[in-house]
Amino acid sequence: MRMDRATERMPHIADDRAAVDPVVDPADRSAGSTRSAATRPADDMPPAAEGRRRGRPGGVRIVCSLLVVASYVVAAVIGPVLLKYDPVATDLSVRLKPPGTRLPDGSIAVFGTDQVGQDVLAQMAQGARVSITVGVATLVLAGLIGVSFGLLAGYFGGWLDAVLMRLADIQLTFPSILLAIFIASILGPSVVNVVIVLAISNWVTFARVTRSQVLGIKRRDFVDATRTLGARTWHLVIRTILPSCTASILVVATVVLGHVILAEASLSFLGLGTPASTPSWGVTIANGRDYLSNAWWISTIPGIGLAVLVISFGVLGDALRDRFDPRMKSL
């Protein structure tokens, strides 16, 4: 019964436990659990019913949002393979067809066609590829910069903290999209430049969150305890403090990922993002703007697609925070 409850609380360790269990002699195990029940009253305090009632917060939301995100990733990976998309092909005979039109070649344009006769669905699949690539690459770059700056500032403090955090403050005084436009107009449009631009305008969130976590964690007893066991500074920072920050960093990452994908679309919409030959959602939405009155689907459908993805990331971040926060506090 004890094991059931533990498995329920920590589903991810259930597998390991199953792998370990056969090693334990059954007699030994029962002896162990009766003995432990007697000697460890505190462990048996929270009854199983309470654990069930409390459950794991945000389970449904996490699964649903992950499903949505996963379907986008699948579409981005296999969509362009199934729906051939040629960015420079034009077929004016089928331009501006509404969603569901059967085209002369027999295929159905599910999301309609745009002003040069391109299939909007194929464009979106291609755009998902660009958007998700840019989003993830930016996230990794911004995360690396932000988390390392946050760790350094939080752990070492002093002038290093002052310099790094004032840098972050200065950056926060600019609206991030304005900063992105400024840098993008200097670097020029290309996918790599978009990643750099967005990483520069998003590392601050990571740095601040990591720093605040580190400030709280480095004063905890277990850090001192690890120190008394002979751990060096780098071991402490990377292997003791950083793992305790990951929950918060993960939550920030989901929020920032949605934000970055949106920002990339904004940049592309303004013509400062990916070049026209790599159609991201922003480019498609921008192209359809002129036809909103007579062909609403060119802008609207990619826009809805973008909104759903960003909202999913938002929900995911929220649910993850709900799940990780109470535990982090009670630890």
């Binding site: 609380r9 920590m10 370990v20 659990s33 009253p41 277990f222 751990a231 071991h235 009670s330």
Partner: protein, 356 residues
Amino acid sequence: MDNARDNAMGNASTAAAADCVVATRPLLSVRDLTVQFRTRAGTITAVDGVSFDLAEGETLAVLGETGSGKSVMAQALMGLVPRPAGRVTGGQIVYDGTDLLSRPLSYTRKLCGTELAMVFQDPLSSLNPVFRVGAQIGELFRRHRGASRAEARRKAIELMDRVGIPAAARRVDDYPHQFSGGMRQRVMIAMALALRPRLLIADEPTTALDVTVQAQIMALLAELKAEHRMSLILITHDLGLVAGVADRVMVMYAGRVVETGGLREVYETLAHPYTRGLMASIPALQGQRERLTPIAGSPPDLLRLPGGCSFQPRCRFATDICRIRRPELAPVPGRPESHRAACHHVEEVIAHGVPG
């Protein structure tokens, strides 16, 4: 203070001449250790000129109320004084012939784990919450001994078994929050002893635990201490707890040592009013039930220490001299040489009889 030091030095050298040098050199020798904290309200001296020796295999109990400086002293020994607010401002910590304070902090760090180890007060907050306990114990073997993952795991199970954790082979993959307080403290002890240190500092190891579990943990510590033949500094405010374990006792008040000596010497003849007060506030299991006598007043504000003896405002023996001159730690007249107390009225205190 100088007197005391000369005395101690003198003792050491005569003893060294009589006996083999290696055998008599203490494992740890602390001289005039002073730790200060700078706060907004002013500088406080948390540890004020503490000196003691600790021989190999010996157990020293450090007693005192909250705020008496005993934990800060332990932090100073392990190089953990929180900076930049706190600073070791003076003295020597000679470990195995090397003054740790004259070496960089990294030297002390190198000794940590393999030579020095520490068990903390709160076993929940001193285990890393995000790693399984087996991984935390095993990491020591992997880092310090270059053990493989499987080997480290095996040793972790062995060690958990040794400290009395039931079904260690299964519990090795649990997280700290799945253990009870007593079991967590056992895990902490297992980690501290994993690399077989020569000196273990236990900072109130049983304070956060149930009374029933306290005795078990103390018995475990005593057992492991004997098994590993290590030295132990046991910091506590529970006089009863140390009675069965300690060889020597050191009582601290307001950062200073007020009484020290062999366990029996001190417990038989309490020579300092503060130690008497501590003793009088323990309920006796046998004999007539009486009202407990608490120590009057409250622990001193280190920012506004009274003149003369720090204990003087709470002391019923206090006279004018106590308010003017601070008593030095000196041998108690008519007692073994090692029994020392810092009080102007030692004779009077002893004459007053043993309480309880």
